[in-house]
């Protein structure tokens, strides 16, 4: 059977659905957002490098994949390192994967002086290219909507701790955290502004919302004490600066296992949280507690995280596999997990934005992509109580 049976023509627009959810309101149903970089590239059959060399290909892929899979949001080039590159790091551009830092740029405190910390996203490095892609995406979305932008564009920003870790190398970063916390603070102070400027410029180029992430502060990585005293304050500073400068809705992605510090992460003042491989009951419960205690008045929704609704993950509070349900699960498994996630999040009176617990993986089947939308329609409708 095919779950692809909806043309969307008589429905609420994805833009309206996404913003209702981000504002904590119920419209027709829960939206679906899977960070669909690979959906776009794979649907039109191009590699990341081809789309990087020709931004119009990237734009075409995003728009066609959105129309085909009925996702509620498109994304820009997303989660690559144009800021780190402009600061001075060297990026490696693989043929069919997103760029990564080739080698650590800051090995000693002396190297801090080599870095270009004050950046102009309109001029420096490859940042203008990313902005150009956003402008083209905006233009084409408006054309596709006959003058109305029906689908929002999400951009991405790197938290200061992540940027610092990218610049020093992850191993050195963790040793700095343990041995020289003052240097860690100095690195994060310097790292914050580049990505803030980039997010502001992305907003001016046409992005409508933003997600930010931190893969180096989870319970897999550092202690709760280090998180509380070192990196969480910089997450909060970054998020509050984005809100102040752009007014955009902000999703924070706690990448990995954050079970022992959910109370702290929910206080970094994001509007919603793109949950990693964590127990959905605990995530929803802690989010409601933080909201009800008035510790984050912005907190309205949770994004994610099927893969978390499996029996093994709800039986205890250990991490669950990353994104493997979307890639390796059957449509029935995926729909069942989506149902659990929707019911749990909505049951805590938070809005659910359905998606996996990690970036949408490469090579996800069409039927699983379609099953995601099916699950949102079947179990995420506000017109009738989810079963």
């Amino acid at each position: 059977m095919s779950y692809y049976m909806y043309d969307g023509s008589n429905e609420v627009t994805p833009w309206e659905r996404m913003f209702a959810t981000m504002n904590g309101e119920k419209l027709d149903r829960v939206p679906v957002h899977v960070y669909p970089r690979w959906a776009g590239l794979e649907y039109i059959g191009v590699t990341f490098k081809q789309a990087w060399d020709n931004p119009d290909l990237y734009v075409k892929g995003q728009i066609m994949a959105q129309q085909r899979f009925q996702y509620d949001c498109v994304i820009d080039y997303d989660m690559m390192g144009p800021v780190e590159e402009a600061i001075g790091a060297t990026l490696k551009y693989p043929d069919d994967d997103c760029p990564q830092i080739a080698e650590p740029f800051i090995k000693t405190k002396e190297d801090m002086k080599r870095a270009k910390w004050k950046l102009d996203p309109r001029k420096d490095g490859n940042m203008p290219k990313v902005l150009q892609c956003i402008r083209r995406l905006k233009e084409e979305l408006i054309k596709a909507g006959n003058g109305t932008q029906r689908v929002p564009i999400m951009t991405w920003g790197s938290c200061p701790s992540r940027t610092a870790a990218c610049l020093t190398g992850f191993k050195e970063w963790f040793l700095i955290v343990a041995r020289d916390p003052d240097w860690a603070v100095e690195l994060m102070e310097n790292a914050l502004d580049g990505w803030l400027q980039m997010v502001i410029a992305a907003h001016e180029a046409g992005c409508d919302c933003v997600w930010v992430n931190d893969p180096v502060s989870s319970a897999d990585c550092i202690s709760r004490k280090h998180y509380d005293t070192l990196t969480q304050p910089f997450q909060r500073k970054f998020i509050e600066a984005i809100r102040r400068e752009t007014g955009m809705k902000i999703i924070f992605h706690p990448c990995g296992n954050w079970h022992d510090r959910l109370d702290l992460v929910y206080q970094n003042q994001a509007d919603g949280y793109f949950l990693g491989p964590m127990n959905i009951d605990l995530c929803a419960q802690k989010a409601a507690e933080v909201r009800d205690a008035g510790l984050n008045p912005h907190l309205k929704f949770l994004n994610g995280n099927y893969g978390a609704g499996t029996k093994t993950s709800t039986a205890d509070r250990k991490p669950v596999p990353y994104a493997t349900t979307l890639k390796f699960g059957t449509p029935d498994e995926l729909i069942e997990e989506a149902k659990i996630v929707i019911n749990t999040v909505e049951g805590a009176d938070l809005r659910c934005m359905l998606g996996p617990n990690c970036w949408e993986p490469k090579g996800t089947s069409f039927i699983n992509r379609d099953a995601t939308i099916y699950a949102a329609r079947r179990y995420g409708s506000y017109d009738k109580k989810a079963e």
Partner: protein
């Protein structure tokens, strides 16, 4: 021996300088180098690994313990008798192509090295052809592959297929690890073993080569 307990504690606490001084003192007192490794250093690293499993220790602390271990091993190496190591098996370790994350794998290398394996740590982002060549040249009993990203875990089955194509698969065991990887994934691609983290890798590796 009290000094071995002190070494264990110094490694556990990640006190590199203290560990090195204690190791020198232990040698001066006439302790066997292998005993210092097994009953002092390795014990400390394993206790740190257990602390990581229990959520009491984290990557910075694990790295500091590994650094203390490595600095001590540099002193002890000339004193270790050839063939005295625990397993004596060769292992090649690599993070697959396209993935620059190798902290976990470096910890695996340190722990396998301390357990007596002869380790060829190839580091991050290693092209498949280089891994195949390393298997041909080193003739290891074990190949360890790591990936942190859902995108790069797909390289693992490619490597396994290439090993088969080159007639190398039957001569070695393959263990995989990394955040997105699971036992189910190991079964799916035909790997021989899976370890969630560095602490779990040593017993799996020992079992596979025994």
């Amino acid at each position: 021996m009290e000094i071995l307990q002190e070494i264990t504690k110094a490694v556990y606490d990640g006190e590199e300088q203290t560990t090195v001084e204690l190791v020198k003192k232990a040698l001066a007192e006439g302790l066997r180098a292998q005993d210092i490794v097994d009953q002092g250093l390795v014990k400390g690293l394993h206790e740190c690994g257990a602390g990581y499993e229990a959520g009491e220790k984290f990557i910075p602390e694990m790295l500091m313990a590994a650094e203390a271990m490595k600095a001590s091993m540099a002193i002890l190496k000339p004193h270790l008798v050839a063939g005295e190591s625990v397993a004596g098996a060769k292992v090649v370790l690599a993070t697959v192509e396209g993935d620059v994350h190798d902290i976990g794998l470096e910890l695996v290398a340190t722990m396998l090295g301390s357990a007596g394996f002869e380790v060829n740590f190839m580091g991050p982002d290693v092209e498949t052809s280089r891994i195949i060549n390393a298997v041909k040249e080193d003739k290891p009993q074990l190949l360890g592959l790591s990936a942190l990203l859902t995108n790069t875990m797909d390289v693992m089955p490619v490597i396994l297929k290439q090993l088969e194509k080159e007639g190398l698969r039957n001569s070695l065991k393959v263990i995989i690890g990394g955040a997105p990887v699971s036992q189910d994934f190991a079964n799916l691609i035909g790997a021989d073993g899976f370890a969630y983290d560095a602490a779990a890798a040593v017993p799996v590796a020992k079992k596979l080569v025994s």
